[in-house]
Amino acid sequence: MLTRRQFLGSGAGVSALTLGGALPGLFARAADDAVKADRGDRVLVVVELAGGNDGLNTVIPFEDDLYHKARPTLHVAKEQVQKLAGPVGLHPSMEAAARLFQEGKLAVVQGVGYPEPDRSHFRSMEIWHTASTGQRPPSAGWLGRTLDASFKEGADDSLTGLALTDSLPQAFLADKLTVPVVRQIENFGTGVGDTPDADPPRAKLLRKLSTGPTVKGEPIPFLRRQAEAAYRTAARLREAAAKYQSDVEYPGDLGAQLRRAAQVIAANLGVRLVWVSQGGYDTHSKQGPTHQALLGELSGALAAFQKDLEKQKAADRVLVMTFSEFGRRVDENGSQGTDHGAASCLFLCGSKVKGGLAGTYPSLAKLGEGDLVHTVDFRAVYATVLEKWLGCDAEKLLGEKFKGMELLKL
């Protein structure tokens, strides 16, 4: 068990990790633009479903009468579910995801949650982002701690983590570095300096005056180094967007984020952790059409991303994981919606996934205060991803040992 100090990453306590021999550390690249990333560098893409996704209507136990009884207006009829295996199926709008399942590229983890579930968005999201249920969560997120653990002073880490959302997720808060938030790739950093060919005088002059050595005292040398790094990052991102060739169509805003993820992954920029987010899952009223649209977009986006990665020949090194801060109550409420619940499902998607159902579907007969009781602790999924996919010391990063699950075929 880590001391709280170490766990909180207060600088002094986090020691360098020794990584499994087979996989390189997250910061394998040298601070040299010419070094290409090893195609073996694996990528984790986290898809956050914000608001509390109703797992019960996503992965549907259509044979269970209790399900149909609890949701007079919201239940999905047996004939309409997208069949998976056995007594569960996906929401009707998730046809593309069901196909991924049939191809063995989708793992459906059932009953995911944690003990003493919290039904506050803020608090539960914090629990998932920090992988901590303690009263005082660590200041660094679970992926931030992962980045901190293999941080090497002087290594070019500017793009190892990348958030393609509007703001930095708590999961990415780190002590030793700051993960960039990049909303758009194509014109990222316009104003930071354009390519030499299209260089307006201002951009060119600005770059000239902002970079290079200086005799001035701190913090100016630091700021100049950051400016230099920002120009490189901007150039690399724009290059990625320019080089990227694909005719795969992505649906919606989530699709647009995953398309950008595909661009940076295909361009081999050394990105290892990517965050994207889809909001709107807090369906307290008239859940039907909203949830249908969201899951349709999710399903289509995951399938498009997989197809694109296969075309880019990058599918073998990418793993997608979805999560939501909680599921929703079993009984529907008076507004044809559902309120905050507890256990839910999550998906792992990719060529190296061990497709199929994992975990156990929570019982609808034995509830916890009206909510589904979890059968899988989410940190076991994290541990699997950290240990088996990223080659990191999961116990150290999570502060506790969680038994890995058979979710990957490596």
Partner: protein, 457 residues
Amino acid sequence: MALTHLAPEREAPWDARAAAHLLRRAGFGASRAEIDRAVEQGLEGAVKDLFDDGKEQEAQFQETFRRLSGSFVDFSDIGQLQAWWCYRMLTTRTPLREKLTLFWHGHFATSVHKVEDVFLMHQQCETLRRLAWGNFRDLVLAVSRDPAMLVYLDGESSTKDNPNENFARELLELFTLGVGNYTEKDVREAARAFTGWHRDNTKFTLNAAAHDDGDKEVLGRKGKLDGRDVLDTVLAHPALPRFLARKLLVFFACPEPPPEVVEEAADVFQAGQFSVKRFLTALFQSKFFCAEKCRRTRISSPAECVIGACRSFGVRLAAQECRDHVTAMGQELFGPPNVKGWDGERKWIHAGTWAARQAFGQRVGEVVSGNDFGPHLDAFALVPAEVTDPKKVAELLAERVLEGTLSKKTRAEIAEYLVAADEGPKPDDFRDNGDFRAQKVREAVGLLLSLPDYHAY
């Protein structure tokens, strides 16, 4: 107590650069006129002026807020409340109070994302503002009873049967003493003392039935302690003055103050009986603060960068737009990332936020001028209209925006940039055409704001 670093500075010259440094750190930067006035007042006078009570303008702010509420502005929208704070920072005649409010907001961090009630965030901000340079004792008591804090750190549901340690822990670790100065038992016992400190909607209420009135021991003090007793004990702890003094030094003076300076600062804070006004009055007039090597050693926070540019160079941007720039640079007002507030300094700068700072510089350079309606930058207020030699203009701008820290070579490049147009250099147009010159001056200001130098604060 014999002070050396924090002894009053009596010999160093009190000139425009010294005044600009003071007004930058004790506020958000200053216009030429404000700097000149401070130079005239002398160091002591200028520092005294920082603490003007600003009652008249405060009454105006309150009146404006009341008038706009609900009809023109929906202050239950956090974005509007953020814009309102930017408006206060942009227009206040007592910027030290706003700067301190921002400091305390980061210190006693709470976030609207958990509190959810925008009014509670506003109320807490008003409390911090009112007590900004008062006594730390009053401040920490007010914050312990503040409804936004009671929500954020779960005090409102902490009861005798089910005490919640969140507030007690952060009080000791982040607000007053720091790690290593208390034990886990102290946290648990302190949590018991604060049980029942609840709220009734927007007001503090002491819920006697929920309060654990049993015997406790916190930091060596025994008794049937309640929250106030814990606060008294904490305030008497020897680690407190050093902890607070160090935080204030880092925010106002330099990011890594030497230990001997921290010790002196702790003594000063103690001797002033935790009056923030007395501490800062001493700090701002100290040898340490006034020394040239204390200048431009910090990295500007987004608020300092944006509000600073507006106040110092007469850039007029709508408060909502300022809010957007500040947020894009990574500082969401009322929404710090966690209870530690904002780490600040180097953590402000990475590819994404650097792009946002560049975008701000570019925007300032492109601001349309010439009327009283909308965003505005009066080029001739920065560089008199009669100065038409690009080399002289470059000198003036370098001095005004960056306090002359640019090399001769760089100034020559700026001079060239000033006469550049799409079709080639136009020195004649620059000299003869006021509109062209004004436009190029604005672009040059934008360029200077985009240089790394500008962000050394």
